[in-house]
């Protein structure tokens, strides 16, 4: 228990605080920020499964997010069924798509893999935008709010717990990858694929596994996001900016660390909320100003702090231990 507390202390604090907050805070604005921090954190953790743990850096994860979001929204609006069934369908489709992308990762390395994932998300963007009859095209789909757990029409506190559940799910998968045999094998694939292959690790199968798992988790969060926000449109859910955002939180927090994506999300999502409040009076492009800051942050972080917040924390801890 003591070692658990030491290694997972940060996570206990983060998730514990998130669980307690709705009991004491009633402010809708604050709870909304908390839901977004948890959801974006969960999405970045899902990206981290492929990008951080397996070293398969994707800039097209918005594909799976969009599949999940559209599956849930279309299931409600076109078929009159619950969003949970949509989430399930989204996961199944994303597993199929993840399998394809995972196969690509066996053929392509580094920049080529990243480019192919962008191209994949663009194919989905164009397909969904043009297929007006079914997806409503570029106009997007408003998702109706129907109160109840089965329809995912929850209050603010309910959404905090729903987002927390998603965050814990993704966190649990990450922890599994840190402690299990599969996780160690994946680390081998990430650090030196040829050496891993020589040791008899099934590198190809593992990469497909990691990318598919990451796709399924991203899709689940995408479905939740669609129900929470209540609106889905192709240019947002399949955008490159969104894919970059998943990666950004993980990079700022620390790629390949379990808590890193959540730390990154706390920082970036709070920054966004703060900037939105500050610049809401300014008419021209709040989104633009925010994205300029986040692109700059990305350039500076990969250059100067490539191991992110988690790396800084680890260094501070060692320094304290030596002192």
């Amino acid at each position: 228990m003591d070692s658990l507390l030491r290694s997972r202390g940060g996570a206990l604090v983060v998730f514990g605080l998130a669980a307690v907050t709705p009991l004491v805070v009633r402010d809708a604005y604050f709870l909304d920020s908390l839901v977004l921090i948890l959801l974006w954190g969960a999405l970045s953790a899902a990206w981290n499964v492929a990008g951080g743990y397996a070293g398969q850096v994707s800039i097209g994860h918005a594909s799976f997010f969009g599949i999940g979001a559209y599956a849930a929204a279309l299931m409600v609006t076109r078929f009159g069924r619950g969003p949970w069934l949509g989430m399930l369908v989204g996961v199944v489709i994303s597993i199929g798509a993840g399998f394809v992308i995972g196969f690509l990762s066996n053929r392509l390395k580094g920049p080529y893999f990243a480019l192919s994932t962008i191209a994949f998300s663009q194919v989905l963007l164009i397909g969904v935008s043009r297929w007006r009859g079914f997806t409503a095209g570029g106009e997007g789909i408003p998702v109706p709010f129907r109160p109840g757990f089965a329809t995912l029409g929850l209050g603010h506190a309910g959404w905090v717990y729903m987002a927390l559940a998603a965050a814990l799910l993704c966190y649990a998968v990450e922890v599994y990858l840190e402690r299990s045999r599969v996780g160690y094998q994946l680390a081998g694939v990430r650090e030196d694929e040829d050496a891993a292959e020589a040791l008899g690790i099934p590198t190809r199968r593992l990469k497909v596994f990691a990318v598919t798992l990451s796709a399924a988790l991203t899709s689940i969060c995408g479905s939740l996001w669609a129900q929470y926000i209540g609106f889905v449109d192709p240019t947002y859910v399949f955008s490159v900016d969104l894919s970059v955002r998943f990666a950004l939180n993980a990079i700022i927090g620390g790629m390949g660390t379990a808590l890193g994506p959540y730390l990154g999300s706390i920082l970036i999502t709070s920054l966004e909320t703060y900037l939105r409040a500050t610049f809401s009076g300014v008419k021209t492009g709040f989104a633009g100003i925010y994205l300029i800051i986040y692109g700059t942050a990305l350039i500076l972080v990969v250059r100067f702090v490539p191991d992110g917040l988690a790396g800084i924390a680890a260094r501070l801890r060692t320094r304290r231990a030596h002192a």
Partner: protein, 304 residues
């Protein structure tokens, strides 16, 4: 078109029109792509922000045209030095520090740069679609049953001239030889006393000057908006990968192939779906011919 039907004059006209459209489009894509293949081939850096420099070139043409009624062809004289300097500054500020870093660091650095440039354009000039409409866009040329506007033809001629000039520069000047030597073997080039940092700076600046000028040239043919570069950057990666890393003549051939796919796709399935063809072509090329149609040297350093 029904393949069973014998080819009458009408069908031959359609084919001629499609063929000429392919060549005109291919010339422009070649100019967009040579800058990328130069940077990619010599620096071994995948520049995800390449399309954003094209977008900046388009905005330069738009503002010069709407503020001072300057024709894009005159803007070209300004754009080449301007984008050369932009390339030098970008290299010094952003690229220089990551040139020896891992792929992931390079990917996210250039992706970050792309996000910044897109949104600077969004904040500064809004997300509206803008158009450059010089007089020559409505001047129609007819030749042998094919119809084109003057802008396309002139853009093609200038693009080909600039591309040819770049190829000649690489082949016959001392600087060009030094750049090719660095592309072949970084370490050996350093041992021969070549200042590789200078080579990288020069390559990046020339590459950006080429793509920025391509932006000025295509501005009348496409709408101008902050994310206009994205479709071009993916397309030019198809070209570069097809033609082979750093191979300029390969890039020209690759441009023609991509243009042919786009023209045939728009003709058969409608222009609305044309982008989907290059993205599919892109994925197929990456999967089946990642080392280019002819294979190439230097691919191993990118782990292909």
């Amino acid at each position: 078109m029904d393949p069973a039907r014998p080819l009458g004059p009408a069908q031959i006209d359609v084919l001629a029109q499609l063929a000429v459209a392919t060549v005109l489009l291919g010339g422009i894509y070649a100019l967009v792509s040579v800058g990328l293949t130069l940077i990619f081939g010599i620096m071994r850096v995948v520049n995800f922000a390449h399309g954003e420099f094209l977008m900046l070139g388009m905005y330069l043409a738009f503002w010069a045209f709407s503020l001072w009624a300057l024709d894009p062809y005159f803007v070209l004289f300004v754009s080449i030095p301007v984008f050369f300097v932009v390339g030098l500054v970008t290299y010094a500020l952003v690229m220089r520090g990551v040139i020896h870093a891992s792929h992931n660091v390079q990917i996210f650095t250039t992706v970050g740069l792309s996000t910044v440039l897109q949104n600077v354009a969004l904040v500064a000039w809004s997300g509206d679609f803008r158009f450059v409409r010089p007089w020559h866009l409505s001047t129609v040329l007819r030749a042998g049953g094919t119809i084109f506007n003057l802008t396309q033809v002139v853009a093609f001629l200038i693009a080909v001239a600039l591309t040819a000039a770049l190829v000649a520069f690489m082949r016959w000047t001392h600087a060009g030889r030094v750049m090719r030597a660095t592309a072949q073997d970084r370490d050996a080039a350093t041992l021969m006393g070549i200042d590789t940092d200078r080579v990288y700076r020069l390559s990046f600046a020339i590459g950006i000057a080429a793509v920025g000028s391509a932006g000025v040239l295509v501005a009348p043919l496409y709408s101008v908006y902050p994310t206009a570069g994205l479709q071009f950057v993916l397309l030019s990666y198809v070209v570069v990968v097809l033609g082979g890393l750093g191979d300029m003549l390969g890039a020209m051939l690759g441009s023609l192939i991509v243009a042919a796919v786009e023209v045939a796709g728009s003709y058969l399935f409608g222009a609305a779906w044309k982008e989907i063809f290059y993205f599919l072509l892109f994925i197929l090329v990456l999967v089946f011919r990642p080392a280019g149609l002819f294979g190439q040297r230097g691919a191993e350093t990118l782990g292909v």
